[in-house]
Each structure stands twice: as C-alpha cells, then as structure tokens.
C-alpha cells in the first residue's frame, strides 16, 4: 500500500501541470458550493430567527407577509394604523400575557426608528429564545431617551449620552427634521444578527407627541420651521404632559397559554370595530422563506452544476492520460505490479486529486470567510458563522467524496481491465 501511495504521489507530481488545473477547478467549485450553502444557511438562520417567543403580530388588515415585513424587518410600512383603544382592548385581555406596541415609519440617517415601550426589551426574543442584551448604558426609552441597535450605534458613531435627531419618513430623505426634539442615547444593545441591530428605539409616547406637534390638522411645513426656532429653548420639557398615542403601527402579543392562541387569532381577525390581521410569526416566516426558496435552490443547483463540470474535467483529464499510460502500466506490470496495484494506483491518483481539491477548496473558503466577514457583515448585515461544518455541509462534502470515488473508480477499473488484457508487447 505504501508503495502505491509513493508511486501515486510521484506520478501526481510528474503530471502536475494538467493536474493542477483539475485541482483548481475542483477547489473553486468546492468554494462555490460550500460558500453558497453557508451564505444560504446564514441568511435563512438570521432570517427565521429574527423573531421568536412572540405569539402574534397584530396590525391593520393587510397581507400576512407585508405585516411581518413592516413590523419586524422594517421593510415598507403599513398604510393603515391600529387605534390605541384596540391595542389597549387586546393587551388587557385575560389570555394575553404581555404586549409590545410598535410604531414605525420614522428614520434616522437610514436606520429605522421604532417607537415602543420598555416591554420590547423585556419580551422580544430572537434565535432560540434569546433575550435582547444591553451592551452599554441601559434599555430605557422614557421621554427623550433612546436605545440603539448594535450596528446603528456603530455606523452612526453614537455612544451612550450622545444627542441625536430623528427624521420622519423612511430612508435618507431628511425632509422634515425634528430638530427641536433631540434624543439622548440611553443604551446600546448587543449584536443579534436581526433587524434589531439596525433599529433605533424610542418611546412610542414621545414619538407620537412629536408627530402631533408637526402633523397637526393645520400642518404647514413653513410654520413648523418657525415653531422649531421658537421652541428651541425648551425642547426637553414635553415628557410631563404626554398622553396616550392615538394610533400605532402594530403590536406584538404573548399569550398565557398556547391553547388559546388559535382562538385569540381568530377573534382578532374577526374583530368588527376595526379590520385587523393577526399572524403567527413562525408560520409567516416560513411563508416568507418559501418565497425566497426558489432563489436559494437555483443558487445551489448552479453550484452543483459547476461542481459536476469540474468533476467531469478531472474525469476527462484522467481518462485521456490513461491512454498515454498504457506503457507505464505495462512497465509496472512487468516489474511485478499486479492488476490490483494498477487499479489502486489510478484510484489513488484520481481520488487523491479530488480530495486535495476539496481540502484546498475548504481552506480557500475559510480564508475567504475570514477575509470577507467584516465586509459581509457591514454590507449585507449578515453574520456569517465561521464555525465548524454544518450538517448540510458535511452532507455535501460526503457527496463530493462519493462523487470523487465514483469518478476515480471508472478509470481505475478501465486500467485494471486493460492491464489484465494488455500484453507486454510494446507498440512501436
């Protein structure tokens, strides 16, 4: 056996020019396949784990997915609000354990501003029942205090104690600045890998007060600007006269007992005072993921195709070299190598190249992950895990090895047959 390994090693070295090409194509396709798989699973995970522990999300009547997107992912915002009375009605029901009001639609330098209460930090869960953790300061959204998600804090360069200003409307368009209502950063949250990281949390009461201040019935932007200057001196004194908001975008509910969940959902959906939609986030997340699935499957299929092409490349290289090697095989046979030796030699070589390609591919992938992790986190907001292989990845690697084995077996068997039949007649 050690003879064969030595021979195979030397033979591979001898043919390195062609084999390196095979090696590169195999390793690149491994990088692609595993990379796509890792990206996919990371996205799926950060996606499906962005909310847990919440039993129902309630908003004005709309589709399930839009409600989930607006309330949790802050993508788009609902055209209708829910009245505060409705919120109070449901949050004080017997079977409801806790509730979190949510008001969205404001932004600050591209980060969404979420109006809520401290309930949010107490009851919001993500991943496998993880609570939000405070990194610095405290999770306090009273009055003009706000709490920043990890990425928002980092990108905006705010620390605890800094003053900031909120913009109305999504995106960077700072059309109307609430200049006279400066917020103070009370706390910064730990990274979660969920949309929470990119959010700024303020008191829903304060947010409503600002809105009513600017968007009263006689709303006039120029007037606002005037008033902003007049109010400049006493901006911090609103908090004492805060009233309940008139409306909110949506609210999250936790129930006391799961058995009441379905009937509560039905009750909310059939509420006659106001058209409402209640969704179970777990189910809607899956619905949403189903929409994204064809894309991920296409990616996987493409990388598998690339892999097959690479393997086919290795296969043809070995098969072609085989006809050049009939002489080498008869030399080995004449020197005492058995047919099985020839079989083993060719198998070792082709399998060896594929294994080497896989190992190189994995190393390249990890090097790439370490190199690009900061960029990926920054640009896409996804936290790629550079951990050990996932079950899926191990399955893919097994599949690769199996494929490699099969691809190695064919030329090995062919040369075995050949060397059984090939005479020692050396063709001129």
């Amino acid at each position: 056996m050690s003879v064969l390994i030595k021979l195979a090693f030397k033979s591979i070295r001898y043919r390195k020019a062609t084999l390196i090409l095979s090696l590169i194509s195999v390793s690149l396709s491994v990088v692609l396949l595993l990379g796509v798989e890792r990206l996919r699973s990371t996205i799926e995970e950060s996606f499906t784990s962005s909310i847990s522990g919440t039993d129902l999300i309630v908003g004005a009547r709309s589709g399930n997915v839009p409600l989930l997107l607006s309330s949790i992912f802050h993508i788009g915002y609902p055209s209708q609000n829910v009245s505060w009375e409705t919120y109070e009605y449901f949050s004080t029901r017997q079977d409801v354990k806790w509730s979190i009001p949510i008001s969205i639609g404001d932004s600050h330098k591209g980060f969404s501003v979420v109006g809520t209460t401290e309930q949010f930090f107490e009851h919001y869960e993500y991943g496998g029942k993880l609570n939000l953790q405070v990194n610095r300061g405290e999770a306090c959204v009273h009055g003009y205090e706000c709490v920043l998600g990890a990425k928002a804090a980092k990108d905006l360069g705010y620390t605890v104690g800094d003053n900031m200003v909120v913009t109305h409307g999504m995106g960077h368009d700072e059309f109307v600045r609430h200049e006279d209502e400066p917020f103070k950063v009370a706390g910064i949250l730990e990274t979660t890998g969920t949309p929470v990281d990119q959010s700024i949390f303020v008191s829903i009461y304060t947010l409503d007060a600002i809105h009513s201040h600017f968007y009263s019935n006689s709303h006039d932007v120029f007037n606002d600007l005037d008033r902003m200057h007049n109010h400049a001196g006493h901006a911090h004194h609103h908090e004492t006269q805060l009233q309940n908001p008139k409306a909110l975008s949506s609210f999250l509910l936790g129930v006391k007992s799961k058995s009441s969940l379905l009937s509560l959902q039905r009750t909310i959906n059939e509420y006659t005072n106001e058209p409402l939609t209640a969704i179970m986030p777990v189910i809607t997340l899956l619905e949403l993921w189903e929409i994204v699935k064809p894309i991920e499957q296409t990616l996987i299929i493409i990388s598998i195709l690339v892999l097959i092409i690479a393997m086919a490349g290795v296969f043809t290289t070995i098969m072609i070299s085989l006809s050049d090697r009939i002489r080498e095989i008869s030399i080995l046979r004449s020197a005492g190598a058995k047919s099985q030796h020839i079989f083993g030699l060719i198998l070792l070589e082709s399998f060896g190249i594929i294994c080497l390609g896989i190992i190189t591919g994995i190393s390249l992938l990890y090097a790439g992950l370490y190199l690009f992790k900061p960029i990926l986190t920054k640009q896409l907001g996804v936290l790629i895990s550079i951990g050990w292989f996932s079950l899926n990845e191990i399955f893919l690697l097994m599949l690769l090895l199996l494929l490699g084995g099969i691809i190695g077996l064919i030329p090995a068997y062919k040369s075995y047959k050949n060397s059984m039949a090939v005479s020692l007649v050396v063709k001129k």
């Binding site: 003879v3 021979l7 030399i331 080995l332 005492g336 190598a337 047919s339 030796h341 050396v426």
Partner: protein, 237 residues
C-alpha cells in the same frame, strides 16, 4: 526451467493460429537466442511465458509451475517473483529516479527482496552495485529522473531492474534494437555476465544474428512453430 507442450495461440477467434508449438524446453542457466521475422509472434510467445496472456490449448511450465493453470493474481505474483522483463524501448517509469526504477521489483516482490537480504547486502547497495556493473554510478546520475537518460543508459537501467533480486528467468524482448552497434555489444556482454554469475536463464529476442555466438541455444520462430538451430550442452538438467 521452461517447458512448452502442444501450445497453440491466436489473438482473436477466427484468426489463423499465430503460434503452434509442439514442444520447447529450456534448461536452467541456458542463454537462449530467439530470432524470427517481425510479426512472427515472438513477443506473443514471451507474453505467454510471462503469463500476461493465457493460451486456450497447451501447457506452459516455468519452474515446474503450469502457469497457464494459475489464477490471474497468482500468475502476477509468480511473474513478480521469478521473472525479469526488458522491453525494446521506454523501459522506465518516467516519474521515478534511476535508482527507484531499479528498485521497483522488490517493492512488489518480497521473495526477490528476501533473496537480496539473504546475501547480507542491503537492497539499495545491490541496486547500486548492478548499476555500477553497467557503468552507471554517482548519486547525481542515480537520482536523475529516468527520462533524462540517453536511450542506451535507459536500457542498461532496465537490465539492472530485471536482474535485481535474482529472478530465475530474464526475458529480453529486442532490448538492443534501439541501441547503436557498439552499445549493443556492450549491453549484451553485461547482461550475459550477470546472468552467468547468478545462473540465470536468459531468453533473448533479437533478429541480429551477429550475436548468436554468445548464446548456448538458438531457436527460430517461423510460421508459428519453433525450430532449434543450435544447442550447446551446458550440463544442467
């Protein structure tokens, strides 16, 4: 040493018989010169003797073993243990060094390895000794890749490989035809010298009848059968 009886062979069914040998006997230690025109079936006969191919009819005995009755894997082992083979050209594995090429047989045959060890010499020393006999020495040369040698040098390396571990039978299939005249003479002399030293039986194929004088037996393959042209009694069985 070698005994062939009632052998007939054809490559394909439907062909006419390429070989039709009633009887051939080679005594241990004999040096046999086999001649015959191109295409007469000399190489085919050598393949039969080495057990690379098997006949449908007849028996081939080597060292009292009927090799055409052995299982393929046993034939492989038998060949590895008892035969050394030299081709006309391209005898060497291109990715092995000169020394590794010579050492190749003892990688596959324990018996040949043991034979060297029994003489109290290290296998590598024995390989170097053989190489030195044929005029190849110096670690520079021995570590060279086989492809960097001249054709003449390559043939000498092949002879060393065939001889290493003293197999009882050396089969040389036109080993000199790619060499120039001076080299041919020198090559045959070296081969014969080592064979004599170890009482090795040599079956040497060539159509250059100038060399018949060095051999104890000269046979010709013609129309599929063997004709003995000369036999010198060397004693033996």
């Amino acid at each position: 040493m070698v005994e062939i009886k009632d052998l007939s062979y054809k490559w394909k069914d439907g062909d006419k018989e390429l070989l039709n040998i009633d009887y051939l006997h080679i005594t241990r230690g004999e040096r046999v010169f086999l001649k015959g025109s191109s295409g007469s079936g000399k190489s085919t006969l050598l393949n039969l003797l080495s057990g690379m191919i098997v006949p449908k009819n007849g028996t081939i005995k080597v060292l009292d073993q009927t090799i055409n009755a052995l299982k393929p894997s046993h034939r492989d082992v038998f060949r590895a243990n008892h035969m050394g083979y030299i081709f006309q050209t391209f005898n060497l594995v291109p990715y092995l060094s000169v020394l590794d090429n010579v050492m190749l047989p003892i990688q596959f045959s324990n018996e040949r390895l043991q034979r060297i060890k029994n003489t109290g010499i290290e296998p590598e020393e024995e390989a170097k000794r053989l190489l030195q006999v044929v005029g190849l020495e110096g670690s520079d040369l021995l570590n060279k890749s086989a492809t960097e040698l001249s054709v003449g040098q390559q043939q000498r390396v092949a002879a060393c490989r065939a001889l290493l571990g003293s197999p009882e039978l050396i089969i040389a299939d036109e080993p000199t035809s790619s060499l120039d005249e001076d080299a041919q003479e020198a090559f045959i002399n070296l081969l014969l010298k080592e064979c004599t030293r170890k009482q090795t039986t040599l079956l040497f194929v060539s159509h250059d009848i100038r060399f018949t004088k060095y051999f104890t037996k000269v046979i010709e393959l013609k129309n599929g059968s063997i004709k003995e042209l000369l036999t010198t009694n060397i004693g033996g069985q």
